[in-house]
């Protein structure tokens, strides 16, 4: 596609439910990043994929968060047993390679946990 796409654009869920957020990177981009943007916290890095592997998962805020990437393309961020503090905009970015390459951002998924 022309850019990074994310779905859904908005998600409202009840506390305790699981949610899945999807990211479609730009075709051919091997690196994929997830960030979270919440009020007062700015943009924080969650996880990075090079191909299908995630070398560093230390940015995930808790073990309720997980992510996978298949076929070197689509990535899914899963949040289990959602809490109100998970409410945020989740942004995905992709780049041709790791470090230093320009990251293209998707429009984000706004998650609201009620």
């Amino acid at each position: 596609g022309a850019g990074v796409s994310q779905s859904p654009s908005n998600k409202v869920t009840e506390k305790g439910k699981d949610v899945e957020l999807r990211c479609d990177p730009i075709s051919g981009h091997t690196a994929l990043y997830w960030y979270r943007q919440s009020l007062g916290q700015g943009l924080e890095f969650l996880i990075y994929f090079q191909g299908n592997s995630a070398p560093d998962k230390s940015g995930l805020p808790s073990d309720r968060f997980s992510a996978e990437r298949t076929g070197g393309s689509v990535s899914t961020l899963t949040i289990q047993r959602t809490q109100q503090e998970d409410s945020a905009v989740y942004l995905c970015a992709s780049s041709l390679s790791w470090a230093g390459a320009f990251q293209y951002f998707g429009p984000g998924t706004r998650l609201t946990v009620t």
């Binding site: 990074v4 690196a31 990043y33 960030y35 007062g40 916290q41 700015g42 943009l43 924080e44 890095f45 990075y48 090079q50 070398p55 560093d56 940015g59 942004l91 970015a93 780049s95 390679s97 790791w98 470090a99 230093g100 390459a101 320009f102 990251q103 951002f105 998707g106 429009p107 984000g108």
Partner: protein
């Protein structure tokens, strides 16, 4: 620790006035530097980036930024602000060398309001 500081949370300028948004970073080596803009409900759009070479970089929409190594700063400037520039601006740093992780570290953003 690696960090980016944007000291101004909110700035208001009059349309046509000049603008400077401040950014300071703490990083182990010379990083790659970026400025992004985010309009309400939109994703992040890259304004400009510094990788190496000339320390004054030009970006889109008439923006420029100057890398000052001695001050660990990468301030964003625009000579004449337009109402459409009202948005939130993020400074970010990324690794310029090898490593297993290429994530960007962002400042907390500066919200720009433009008075008519």
């Amino acid at each position: 620790a690696q960090s980016v500081t944007q000291p101004d949370i909110h700035i208001t300028v009059s349309e046509g006035a000049s603008l400077e948004l401040r950014c300071n970073y703490s990083y182990g080596a010379t990083p790659y530097l970026f400025w992004y803009v985010q309009s309400p409900g939109q994703g992040l759009q890259l304004l400009l980036k510094y990788f190496s070479g000339d320390t004054l970089v030009q970006g889109i929409k008439g923006f420029e930024a100057e890398f000052k190594r001695s001050q660990s700063s990468f301030n964003l400037r625009k000579p004449s602000v337009h109402w459409s520039d009202a948005a939130e601006y993020f400074c970010a740093v990324g690794p310029s060398g090898g490593g297993s992780q290429g994530n960007l570290i962002f400042g907390k953003g500066t919200k720009l309001s433009v008075k008519p």
